[in-house]
């Protein structure tokens, strides 16, 4: 029977579904829980107290809380590539077949070899590693560090690619309500009734917050019933989006909130087409933070012992999950709220051994409650130390009001040191919380713009105040978002006393008293930190690792501050507070990536001839976001160089064709288009004749080359610019800047035409003959009618409009023909067909690169953002008759220095030698030291035309050293040989082939 297998499950009660038992495993042990359980509550129900080991001392730890602030009960969930380390058992919704393992222990949880660390604890205090491991120096990396790394680190990642999918999505609303407890429900309800678009998020799988865990009555019905009615009304409202299992983890600028929805984490198996998690970016006009409060532990000896549980968590386990965390419970509380645990345990028939409350004068009601529960009351008492074995607590030492010490048997100690409002989100934009002495807690001072805090998150701990504040802030938010809201009736609730007396640390404890449970920071560590001068709260945090664990110190920080304040004699507000950072609870890295991983990391741009090129078996290369055909292998060609050389030879001797559509193309129109180009290019374009093309270079305003390309004048008021592939967007942005910001008075219109035109280079002696097969007969493309650097519009293939430019990157007789991009696929097939008699050969980016190097054209490797026009040998293009972008700054001595490296060509002296880009140039016989570095090789290619390797590069005084030799120094490849400096134009230096 299920009940037998769950020895610590109450026979009745709770919000679990006893009709739906769920099998699960922990450390290989098969157990049963119920739908509605968390992994933690199921473990509690099964009597499991030891759930993990701590970070540094490997101390045995059990469940401390019942929420996302849990520092102890971290497990590895699922298995294989879905293994998920450091998962809080308190937030895992139980599902059938769940597998969890404890972590940071070896060989087993009950016997952990590294628990010997506890024996060395006196040495492993705060900052110990800063003081040692320095000698011998080499030992740190070889010995000490690997040991430290291995011992630290909690759970194990799978090491395998995450197989699940993730999504990101945007949402918009008038009012975002963060937290679905009593405050949040009232806020959402009020805003909803006002007609505002409301999003209500709660990290839990059920709305209700503490109402699910307490025994409140609201308006005469149980809290859980009231939650059900309220959620039903919200669910029926079209203007409300309810998001369960959704944690708002961060506040960002301008009302943007990050939230994580756990879409499939509670499901046994993956649902097709559904993501595991979804990252929401919620843009909200207003937001209400109703995240509740987090109970703080009390710092005393052995307070980390499995069985020491937060008092409110005990109520969660008993009331919500009908699971009993102990058979002999003692309650240690400094506040009225903790007494609810006494009442609820008693009501559930769980023996309460003792109540220890440091307040000597307790109200009559509480004294009577202790009596009714049959508990021994220690008013004015404290728990000094808790003892037990690794599986749990066995006894506690209580210091009575009179100063004597009493030892009591208990297997569960419910502790409550008061409540800290969950204000983390209010500090994400930098505001600091303020101390409220009346409630002994920090509250938000200046929440982010548009966000208001309500209820327990605002320090209003009593239920009545939560309901009222929620309604008020919900109304305020709706009003601020432009709606007219009215306050609803606030349901009647009983009195809910919130008295407390601060107790930060129990003096005279004899054993280790933990402040930060997960990172094993003890009260002693804080004292050491203080004595060594690390007194600023930020120093304390960084020196001891306090608050740096997966819970960001939700249960630890305020206790630590109070202890530090006591040590320094300052007040808590003077001591200050550390800043919470997003995310509120840890978020899987994959969720932030969503769709954009693997092949979808960035969009892919395909050229007009992509389908055809793929049919030819071309490998593709990434050029920015584009994929371009690299070469077109023929059967039997196994080495890329063979294919590329064939393509070059075929082009230079016959005709080749290459898709150059990726080059940026910009229509520049308007009466002042020419004047505009004069200002952005170093050379002049206003004088360019219609039907002509000119090569241009544009600089940045700092005088450095930004981009180059050709621009054609198609009509009086219409120029057509081309840019390099990688700079297309950057140039467009630059031109828009020049037009809109610098010279708005010009009559210029700019439109990107990159995607409109499929553009192919047809190059080689047979280029014109090939083209003739495409061009409609009425057009004359003879050398006379369309000479080198001519441009025209015409029709091809029976009326298809096209643009034809007689320009050449290859140095051959060449054209670029452009047709509307949809026809690009047809055109490449047509070119291949009409060119077949001339041996037309497609060539890819590699052959393109070889031919441009043979012609000495600069490209990406040469245009590296530090090069001047003069460095490229284009100094004479820089007009002296006009202003243009970059002209003035290019005159600075550092850029005008004639000694600067210049672009020149290189040949290996031993012609069989392969050149490599990235080699540096040294004078012959000079030592290989930086002082002798004269430049470097930028681009190399095997020139099939010359039958040896050639290169381009920058060399100091290069232009005046043609014919000299230097050493190409390439130590990272182990190469060193002589090269000859030559003109960068290796082929047809006079350009005769261009003009035939």
């Amino acid at each position: 029977m299920a009940a037998q297998s769950q020895p610590a499950r109450l026979q009745s009660g709770g919000l679990i579904d006893r009709a739906r038992p769920l099998e699960f495993q922990f450390d290989g042990r098969k157990m049963t829980g119920y739908a509605g359980d968390t992994l933690a509550s199921a473990l509690v129900a099964n009597g499991v107290t030891l759930t993990g080991r701590s970070f540094k001392y490997h101390r045995p730890r059990g469940v401390l809380t019942a929420g996302s602030e849990e520092p102890n009960a971290l497990v590895e969930l699922r298995g294989g590539s879905r293994r998920e380390p450091n998962t809080k058992a308190t937030t895992v919704e139980l599902f059938a077949g769940l597998e969890a393992r404890s972590q940071n222990r070896w060989p087993s949880l009950t016997f952990d070899a590294l628990s010997v660390n506890s024996l060395f604890a006196p040495l492993l205090v705060a900052g110990f590693y800063y003081k040692t491991f320095m000698w011998p120096a080499a030992f740190w990396e070889k010995l000490y560090e690997p040991l430290i790394r291995k011992a630290a680190g909690l759970g194990r990642a799978s090491g395998l690619p995450d197989p699940d999918t993730y999504e990101k999505a945007f949402a918009f609303c008038d009012v975002l309500v963060i937290g679905g407890g009593p405050t949040g429900l009232m806020a959402a309800l009020t805003a909803c009734r006002a007609g505002a678009r409301v999003i209500l998020c709660d990290e839990d799988f059920g709305f209700g917050g503490r109402l699910l865990s307490e025994t409140f009555e609201i308006a005469g019905i149980s809290g859980a019933s009231w939650v059900g009615e309220t959620v039903a009304e919200l669910a029926e409202s079209a203007n409300v989006t309810l998001m369960r299992r959704t944690t708002v983890f961060g506040v960002y600028d301008t009302g943007t909130y990050g939230a994580l929805e756990r879409v499939g984490d509670h499901l046994p198996t993956h649902v097709p087409h559904q993501p595991r998690q979804r990252l929401w970016k919620i843009v909200a006009k207003r937001a209400v933070l109703a995240a509740g409060a987090i109970e703080r532990p009390i710092v005393f000896g052995g307070n980390d012992r499995p069985g020491a549980v937060m008092a409110a968590a005990v109520r969660s386990y008993v009331n919500r999950y009908a699971a009993v965390p102990g058979r002999r419970i003692a309650v240690f509380t400094n506040n009225d709220d903790g007494w609810k645990t006494v009442a609820d345990c008693a009501a559930a028939g769980i023996p309460v051994e003792a109540v220890i409350d440091p307040r000597a004068n307790l109200p009559e009601g509480l004294r009577n409650l202790a009596d009714r529960a049959g508990a021994t009351l220690f008013a004015g008492g404290r728990v000094l130390d808790a003892y037990g074995v690794s599986s749990g607590l066995q006894a506690i030492d209580v210091e009575t009001a009179g100063g004597s010490i009493v030892t009591l048997n208990a297997d569960c100690l419910a502790m409550s040191g008061g409540w800290n409002p969950a204000l983390a989100l209010t500090t994400h934009l930098g505001s600091r919380p303020v101390w409220r002495p009346d409630i002994h807690a920090f509250v938000a001072s200046a929440p982010p713009p548009g966000l208001e805090v309500a209820g327990a998150a605002n320090g209003s701990l009593a239920l009545a105040a939560c309901l009222a504040e929620g309604a008020a802030e919900g109304a305020k938010a709706a009003e601020a978002a432009g709606f007219s809201a009215s306050m609803p009736a606030i349901p009647a609730v009983g009195a809910d006393p919130t008295g407390m007396m601060p107790l930060w640390k129990v003096e005279r404890s004899r054993t280790k008293a933990f402040v930060d449970f997960q990172n094993d920071v003890t009260a002693k560590d804080i004292a050491i930190s203080e004595s060594e001068g690390y007194r600023s709260v930020e120093h304390l945090k960084r020196y001891t690792a306090l608050g740096m664990a997966t819970d960001q110190g939700k249960t630890a920080n305020v206790n630590a501050l109070a202890i530090m304040a006591a040590l320094t004699g300052k007040s808590i507000p003077e001591t200050g507070v550390t800043t919470f950072r997003p995310p509120y609870t840890p978020v899987a890295i994959a969720a932030f990536a969503g769709h954009h991983r693997g092949k979808h990391f960035r969009p892919t741009r395909l050229t007009p001839s992509h389908l055809w090129a793929a049919e030819q078996g071309a490998p593709f290369v990434e050029t920015g976001q584009w994929l371009r055909a690299q070469w077109y292998p023929r059967p039997g060609e196994t080495d890329w160089l063979v294919s590329v050389s064939r393509e070059v030879n075929a082009t230079r001797s016959g005709v080749g064709v290459c898709d150059v559509s990726t080059l940026g193309k910009i229509d520049i129109m308007g009466a002042d288009a020419g004047a505009f180009l004069d200002r952005v290019y170093i050379n002049t374009f206003s004088t360019l004749a219609i039907g002509k093309v000119r090569y241009g270079v544009m600089l940045r305003e700092d005088g450095i080359v930004m981009d180059d390309g050709t621009t054609a004048r198609l009509a009086d008021h219409h120029y057509y610019m081309s840019t390099t592939t990688v700079n297309a967007a950057k140039v467009m942005q630059h031109l828009e800047f020049c037009h809109q910001v610098l010279w708005p008075e010009l009559d210029v219109q700019l439109a990107s035409a990159t995607e409109q035109w499929a553009q192919f280079a047809i190059a080689g002696p047979n280029a014109r003959d090939t083209l003739r097969g495409l061009i409609d007969p009425e057009f004359d493309i003879s050398n006379e009618a369309l000479p080198y650097m001519g441009a025209t519009t015409l029709t091809i293939c029976g009326g298809l409009p096209a643009r034809l430019f007689r320009i050449s990157f290859s140095g051959e007789l060449a054209y670029e023909i452009a047709v509307p991009a949809g026809y690009g696929d047809g055109l490449i097939r047509a070119i291949m067909s009409v060119g077949a008699p001339f041996g037309v050969t497609p060539y890819g980016t590699e052959a393109l690169g070889v031919m441009r190097i043979e012609k000495g054209h600069a490209a990406g490797n040469e245009l590296n953002g530090t090069i001047t026009a003069a460095d490229l040998g284009l100094g004479r293009m820089m007009s002296t008759k006009k202003d243009y972008i970059g002209r003035v700054m290019a005159e600075r001595p550092g850029l005008a220095d004639p000694e600067r490296p210049r672009l020149v060509g290189f040949k290996p002296v031993d012609r069989a030698q392969r050149l490599r880009a990235g080699a540096h140039f040294l004078p012959l016989g000079a030592k290989a030291v930086a002082a002798n570095d004269e430049g470097f090789m930028t681009s190399v290619a095997f020139s099939p035309s010359l039958n040896h390797w050639i290169g381009l590069g920058y060399l100091k005084n290069g232009a005046s050293r043609l014919g000299e030799r230097v050493r190409a120094h390439d130590p990272v490849r182990g190469l060193e040989f002589e090269v000859e400096i030559c003109d960068p134009i290796f082929i047809d230096p006079k350009g005769e082939r261009l003009r035939v």
Partner: protein, 202 residues
């Protein structure tokens, strides 16, 4: 040589043939490729916006929108894309002559750049379409905020996108650069799959 008469290739060719596609009844999203749209960018010349508006109104009976709106008459629509800038869209006309027809009609009040081939347009509609687009688009498409006739230039899943709403079903047309049609189709598919997808034309 006119026997080579070329045919245009849809930018979505090869990209909307997903396997395992859910085409169950009550599909959340319907996709339709729009290869029948001719497009051109129309930019008012310096100081000529009023003249352009006058020309457009007289020639086409369309009041040029002052903001990101789509105003249609018959098969022609003008969509505001920026200050003094518009995308003219003609359905079913001759894309190859659209820009020159516009230029002829609008005279020297505007500069015109042919864009018929530069965009790939997908029509998306259905009850779950807003949920699909929210996975990549940072614009509020709630019916109280974004209505038929509204248009927006933005990006969807890192892909520059221009969308406009046609009706309250809702139906949107989304235009992306042609080279990105494949990545866009993959995103739409993976985002819509959980709701069920129907493709109206292959």
């Amino acid at each position: 040589m006119s026997d080579l008469a070329l045919k245009p290739l849809s930018a979505f060719r090869g990209h909307l043939a997903f396997t395992g596609m859910s085409e169950a009844s009550g599909a959340g999203v319907t996709l339709e490729v729009r290869d029948d749209l001719a497009m051109a960018i129309v930019i008012a010349r310096k100081g000529r916006l009023a003249a352009l508006a006058e020309n457009v109104c007289q020639t086409y009976g369309i009041d040029l929108p002052a903001g990101p709106k789509r105003v249609a008459a018959g098969s022609l629509a003008f969509i505001g894309t920026g200050p003094g800038q518009f995308l003219a869209v003609e359905q079913g006309g001759d894309a190859l002559t659209f820009a020159s027809r516009l230029a002829g009609a609008l005279g020297d009040a505007a500069s015109i750049s042919d864009q018929s081939a530069s965009r790939a347009v997908l029509r998306v509609s259905g009850p779950r379409v807003r949920g699909v687009l929210a996975k990549g688009l940072a614009i509020d498409l709630h019916p109280s905020v974004f209505r038929p006739g509204d248009a927006a230039l933005s990006s969807i899943a890192l892909i520059g996108a221009h969308l406009w709403q046609l009706d309250e079903r809702p139906t949107y047309e989304i235009s992306v650069f042609r080279s990105l049609a494949g990545s866009f189709a993959e995103f739409i598919w993976s985002s819509a799959a959980e709701y069920g997808v129907t493709i109206d034309n292959p």
